[in-house]
Structure formats: structure tokens, C-alpha cells
Symmetry: C2
Subunit: 486 residues, 2 copies
């Protein structure tokens, strides 16, 4: 058996079961003519399939009935005019269908949607119709009976925890999806955060193993990096992008898995791939051990517009190296020492080549002199800087309007992680409350893909309409709240 | 059991089996990007369900693919811009769908279509896609293995026969549909002509019995007339229109059925309803035995714009009376004599009150002095006038540009029937060749709902786009060709 086949067979063994639940909206029945519309509220965010019945309301419908059915994760999405969408990502992600129905019948729509609200507009009917038996069959592989409430006594943190676990639940399908509305695929960056939160909430180890194996089966690029995303429906397909920080986070995800399970079987089969990822990254360092710029989409780091992310990427490398060396130590791998020495060398190089002593910050040529929170956070997480010096740097940079700031909950997670690493518990809690709590103030049922508190129209893709409002990488407040018993 | 339940149970017993056949277009596979389109030609008119497969052509599709799929009974329909449709009948009959497809999969479209051509336009895809495995699963309750070729040696009549039987085949589904594109329901006027042609072609008696029972189960209006149309999917529904000529043609259909089968079981249960229909019509005659104008849509006769159809309707009454009296005689019903006397009386009244001796034509106040072929044809079929006098009248009226002329193949059928009744076989053959042969010259695969040779844009419904190009009532050339061995 080839490695690929082996990993796919392991992924298949660990396919999680989906749990289904029918959600019945409050409105039971609606009699409508051409132009009428009805708004259904599921009362919660849900991922699944919508069905309804249509019947005559008096005379026979006479001609096919045309319905426009729109699904919105929030009310803004329902109210948006999709025809005005400024195409960046494909408009086909916008959840709207035109249905022609020939005669009275029950219709189960074939596609899966992510929504709280459903708007049905009767575009054309010759005779009044009755719409009824609305049902949304929601699915998730998260077993909600396993979930314990967070122990926090802070009401806001408790509310944040509920919405965060809900976000994770919605993204847990047959694998860890990034967002159930869009892109509905497995990204390494999302996987790492979902798996982390899952250890403290739904504790579904199958899905985590499955996702690790799905990446292990992927096709590496010419630099040797694993794919950054995977499709699995209707068949396995290894994604075309190979982002260096995501390849490194695969290694971190394996380390996380071992830390929470002690499961050597998985580590044994993935250890070689982890070493190869780190070796591939080592190969793009220059003689000073500093990462070199590569062609194409080499680093993600964050959707922050204009961000230069190479210093941050260097920090991700150190972060992965440190976690991996701990794993090697725990399992008694003799290469442990070699990794430790390399970590020390790279940290020295970062201090020497990437740190501006006058500015007392990581500002350098690598990022064209750009100051960013991202660089500081990842240098802290990479262990290049610590203690009071790091605290001061982080706080001042977060307050600096001239510094590039985190945009995604994904990058905010690592900012918070840096705070916890620096024992800045109060600041971290405040950070969670301000950012994730801010989404709650806007009525979020699940946490969003992107959120800038003073720019609700921000989108990484030119148009807010396409944003995903239930996005895996924003689920980690539950991890922090539960791990640190906030 | 109520009468309605009884008739519905009989209709159910006689539900015909559908025969399915997969039609595979010539094109096997098509690789497309946004904006590309493909035209599939089934090589024949077909009624059924379309399926196809979509796969990646290289990279994964990345985002849902939006396809616009259009079905056309002919190429004009494919080329029509449906957005320009001038709404009379509902635009939802226009056969076009917008499909969003999330990932590579086989799609079987849920609705039934009537078409020869299928155009697939890739409205939006991020990556090239492959479309393949095109299949149209056609259905009909006509058993083509039963059909014998017509015995005619005339090449054109033979071609007309083939297209006419094909038209009938397409309309034979679980009942006699008027048109498989539109309205897909059972109309009495169509039923009569379909049943008639069926006796000479597919000889499916079940479907005919089923349709007679479906009408027998219908709800009569306050005048006592049966409904003119019936829906049967997903449940039985008695149509809201009660047209007098169609109610009379129900009686004729029962007479036809007995004539071709000798089946007394059916006649016994339907005889009372037939008598009631004739009695209801008798009740709307004035003291001179002439039909009186009623509110609403009282007579159909033809889709000829501006037609006054009461004289024709009076002829339909006589036609039904005569056929029914023959049935009564054949089965030994003692009321036979009573009907004969009434026929004689009504014919006298027609001559006296509806015939213009100076004009030597049926032109009268009842129709506001309008001259129409329709009046002459139905007075001939009603036996009011015959022989050379009738021939002359019919020929001159058909040539008269000031006379209202038949528009539908339905009315053309009765014009031809009048010719055969008057032993004008040559003229009738010429009439079939000119009219139905004319549709052939325009490439018809099936005969149309409406056709005016010098006005290809004619529609009874304001816009030709909505016309049905496979319409049951145009199938009767096969009846004439086979019955009269042309």
C-alpha cells in the first residue's frame, strides 16, 4: 500500500458519525401570492438541509410556482441585494436559489446551507399557495451531550464560550470545515484551532485523527510542504496551495494531538512527515538562518491588508520547532538535542537580524520595515523574546495605530496565546471580551471569519456579503476559558 | 362508496405503466469555463428527466458552479431570450433552470421537461469543469412495439403519420396530457382526439378508460357540465372551467370508446353521466331550441382570435346527440327514439334560425353576424346540411379571407372530419398535407399547439415562446391516414 492509500484508509476509519436534528421554525403555515415573502427564523445558527411543503390554497396552482429561497447567517445577509455583489470570491457562495415547482409536493432542497434565517419569496404563482411543514435538518459531528458548561463565573465569558462552542460544533461535519457557508474545506490553520478547542469541549478524537491523516495523504509542493487545504467530497483532492506557516502548523497539530491523548500510534506514522515539514522550512533559510522570500502565496499569517508576514513566519517556525522538540523528548527520540540546538541558533539569528534595538521591536528589512503586531506576537510565541520586555512590546504595539493590527480571529487567537504565555491573564481576558464580546454585541450566533470592530463592512475579499459568519478559527475563546479556567 | 370514489378507484385500476428509455446525446464530454455553453441534441422530441455529471477538469472546482440549463422543443425556443417574454400564461412554463452545484457529482434534475434540445451555459465557475454522462430518460405510456407503420404509399402522408404518432406518444403519460411542456393536464377536447388516434395506433385502452373515469369523477358546475380539465398529480383535482363543447365531447368520447371496444362495462357506468351532459345542454336552449349565451367561458371551439362560437357549439351539440343516439341504438336503450326526434327538431331549428339563405351560409345574430369556417364545419358535422350544398359552402368559406379561419390543429381536425363526412377525400388529403405538412417544412418533430402558416409568431397567449410544440390535439392525421387508408 502506498503511503497515500494508507493515510486515506486511516482517514476513512476515523470518519465521524453525523448527528441530525430537525429544527422547526415558529411559523407553521403561510398562504402567499406573487410577490409575498416570508422570513423563517431557526432561532440559532444551523448547518444542513431545508425542506418544506407546497400545496394549493383553494384552486389548483395551474402553472409551476417560482420561489426564491435565500439563506442568511444573519439578517444583514438576508437584507443584502446579492445582485450588487462585487465579485472577488465566486458569487456562487451566496446562498440563494430559484426553484420552480410543478405541483403540490414536499421539496427537500439538495444543497447544504449554513444559516439562521430563511427568506422565501414567491416570485410567481398564478394562484394562492400554501407553504408549510418547514423543517431544517441540521447536522454536526459534535456530540452535544459530551459538552460540559464552562466553569467561568463571568457572565460575558460564559456567553462567549457558548457562542464559541457553537461555532466549533457547526464547523464539525465529516471533517473540520473552515466555514460551513464557505469554503467548506479543511485548512490546516483552522484544523489546528478547531482540534485545540475540541480537546476541551466535544472531545471527538476521531475527527482530529481523520483530519491529520487527510493532510498526511496530501501532495507536497516542490519545496516539500504539505497542501494547506484538502477537499474530501466526493473524493479526496489535495489542495493546490502550500503555505509555509500552515505546513508548520500541521506539525504543531500533531504535537497538540499527542499532548492531549498520548496516542503513540498516530505519532509513529506522522513523525516522518513532521520532520520533513521542518526540514523543508529549514531549506528556505539563508546562511543566517533567516527565512527567504519565496514565489507565490508563501505565508498566510492573517488577512490584514498589506501585511508583510516573513518575520511572523519565522516565529511560526520557531513555535513549531519548540513544540516538536518537546514531543521528541516525550517519546524519547534521540534527535531531540539536535532540534534544541537549532532552536537556540534561530532565536539568536532573529534577535540579531530581525530586531530593531532602537525601536525595541521586530521591525526589519525582511518586512520592508513594516511594524506589525503579527511580527511581535510570533517572535514572542517563538521564544525569541519574553518577560517584561515582551509584555511592554506587545502592549505598545497593540496600542499603536501605525502598527498593522490583527484582522482575523485566527490572528487574534495567537495574540491572546502570546498574552497567556507572558502571564498577562487580565489583559488576555480583556482582549477576549473586547474582540469576541464585540461580535456578541452585534448579535453573533456564531463567531465570524473576519471582524474589525470599527469597520463592520470589512472583508478580506472585497465584499462583506461573501464573509463567513461561522468560521472555525474564531472558536478558541472556549479553549482559553476552559484551559485557563477563566 | 360515493360515485366520485368509485370513478377514482376505476381510474386507479387503469393507470398505465410508463415505459422508460435513456436517450444519450452525441456529445459525450465537454470541458468548459465561465461563459461557455453547449447544445445537446437528443435527435428527437422527448419527455422526461435529464441527468449529467460534473467533475473537475484539472484543479478542484473551488467554489459552487452555476449552470443555466434550458430545454427547447425546437431551436427557436433555445434561441429565445426568456427575459423578453410578454407574460400572458405564467412564465414559469418556460423551461429554464439555474443550478448551483457544490462539488463534482451526478445531477438528476427533479422536474420533467419536454424537449429535443438542451443548452447548458456555464454561468460561473472558478476552475474549468468537465460536463459528461448526459442522459435524458424519456417516458411514455405508449408501447411503441404495438405501433404498425401506416400503409400509405404517399411519402408525405407517411412522414406526417410518423410525426403525428410521435406527438401522441409524447402526450401519453399517466394520462392523456394536452402538452407535455404545457399545460400537462387532461383536457376533454384533447382526450377525445388522442383516444381516437390511439385506437388506430398504440391501442392502449387502459389510458382511455382512465381518462374517462377521471372526468366522470369531476365536479360539475351549476349548469351540470363536467369539468373541462383534470389534474391528477399529486392528487386528484377537478378543474375550475366547465366548457360546454368539451362537456359534449366527453359524451362523444364515450361513444368512440364503445364503437372501438364494444365494452359494455364502461358504457354502463358512464351512460347516466352522458345523458346528464346532454340534458344540461338542452337546458340552455331557448324555446326555439337554439343555444343561449351564458356567462363566462362557455364555448371553446378554437383559439381563433375574436371568434363567435355559438353556432359551432350548437353543431357540437348535434354531433354529440347523433353519436349518442347511435350508441343507445347499439346497446338497445329505449330512449333512442326520443333522442332521434330531438335531433331532427334541433336540425330544423338550425336551418331556420341560424342559416342565412341569401348568403347561403350559417351567419346569424347568435354570432353577431360573423362568418366563420367553424360555424359551417360544425353545422355539417351536426348534420344540419350535407351533400353538394355543404361541400360548396365549406370550400368557399375555407377560401374566404373575410371568414374566420381555424387556427388550432384541433379545429383543423374537425374541418378535415367534415370533409371526410362529405366524401371530399382528395380535398381532405390536400388539407392534411398543406397544414400538417407545413409544420414539417418548418422542421417539426412533433405537431404544434397552434400554427398559422403565414404567421409563425402566432400564439393564443400573446407570446409564441409559451406555445406548446408537441400538442395532443394535433395528432389526428394518423387517425385519418389509418382509418381512411389514405
Amino acid at each position: 500500500m502506498t503511503d497515500k492509500k494508507f493515510f486515506l484508509s486511516k482517514a476513512d476509519e476515523n470518519r465521524p458519525m453525523l448527528h441530525y436534528r430537525d429544527i422547526i421554525p415558529d411559523i407553521n403555515e403561510f398562504v402567499a401570492q406573487t410577490g409575498d415573502s416570508i422570513l423563517l427564523d431557526l432561532g440559532e445558527h444551523a448547518v444542513g438541509h431545508f425542506s418544506f411543503a407546497l400545496d394549493n390554497a383553494g384552486d389548483f396552482i395551474d402553472a409551476p410556482v417560482r420561489l426564491i429561497i435565500k439563506f442568511g447567517e444573519d439578517m444583514r445577509e438576508i437584507e443584502d441585494d446579492f445582485s450588487l455583489y462585487k465579485e472577488g470570491l465566486s458569487r456562487t457562495w451566496l446562498q440563494e436559489e430559484i426553484l420552480n415547482i410543478d405541483y403540490p409536493q414536499k421539496t427537500t432542497m439538495p444543497r447544504r446551507y449554513a444559516c439562521r434565517y430563511i427568506k422565501i419569496t414567491v416570485e410567481k404563482t398564478n394562484k394562492p399557495i400554501k407553504l408549510f411543514d418547514f423543517c431544517f435538518c441540521a447536522s454536526t459531528s459534535a456530540d452535544v451531550s459530551v459538552l460540559q458548561p464552562a466553569k467561568t463565573k463571568d457572565a460575558l465569558l460564559n456567553k462567549i464560550d457558548i457562542v464559541a462552542t457553537n461555532t466549533l460544533k457547526e464547523c464539525m461535519q465529516t471533517f473540520f470545515e473552515d466555514g460551513p457557508k464557505r469554503d467548506r474545506r479543511l485548512w490546516t490553520g483552522d484544523l489546528r484551532l478547531e482540534a485545540l478547542t475540541n480537546y476541551y469541549t466535544f472531545k471527538n478524537l476521531e475527527i482530529t485523527k481523520r483530519c491529520l491523516y487527510l493532510f498526511a495523504a496530501g501532495d507536497c509542493d516542490k519545496l516539500g510542504f504539505l497542501p494547506s487545504y484538502i477537499y474530501e467530497t466526493p473524493y479526496y483532492f489535495s489542495g493546490g496551495a502550500h503555505i509555509a506557516d500552515y505546513a508548520l502548523l500541521f506539525v504543531v497539530s500533531v504535537c497538540d494531538y499527542y499532548e492531549h491523548t498520548g496516542d503513540m500510534d498516530v505519532v509513529n506514522v506522522l513523525l516522518g512527515i513532521c520532520k520533513a515539514q521542518l526540514a523543508s522550512f529549514r531549506a528556505v533559510l539563508d546562511e543566517n538562518l533567516i527565512v527567504t522570500r519565496q514565489e507565490g502565496w508563501f505565508a498566510f499569517i492573517d488577512w490584514c491588508p498589506g501585511l508583510e508576514g516573513l518575520t511572523a513566519l519565522q516565529g511560526v517556525y520557531l513555535y513549531a520547532l519548540e513544540r516538536f522538540s518537546e514531543l521528541l523528548k516525550a517519546i524519547g527520540d534521540e534527535e531531540y538535542e539536535k532540534y534544541l540546538q537549532h532552536i537556540a541558533d534561530v532565536r539568536c539569528a532573529c534577535k540579531k537580524y530581525l530586531y530593531d534595538k532602537n525601536a525595541k521591536a521586530f521591525i526589519n528589512k525582511l518586512d520592508n520595515g513594516q511594524l506589525s503586531v503579527h511580527s511581535q506576537v510570533w517572535m514572542i510565541l517563538g521564544g525569541v523574546i519574553g518577560g517584561e520586555e515582551a509584555k511592554k512590546l506587545l502592549v505598545s504595539c497593540l496600542d499603536n495605530k501605525n502598527a498593522k493590527q490583527p484582522v482575523t480571529p485566527y490572528m487574534r487567537h495567537y495574540a491572546a496565546e502570546a498574552m497567556f504565555k507572558l502571564n498577562m491573564k487580565n489583559e488576555a481576558v480583556q482582549y477576549l471580551k473586547t474582540f469576541w464580546g464585540g461580535m456578541l454585541e452585534h448579535g453573533a450566533d456564531t463567531f465570524w471569519e473576519a471582524y474589525i470592530p470599527d469597520d463592520l463592512d470589512f472583508s478580506p475579499y472585497d465584499d462583506r456579503m461573501i464573509n463567513s459568519l461561522c468560521h472555525a478559527w474564531s472558536c478558541t475563546p472556549s479553549y482559553f476559558i476552559r484551559k485557563y479556567e477563566l
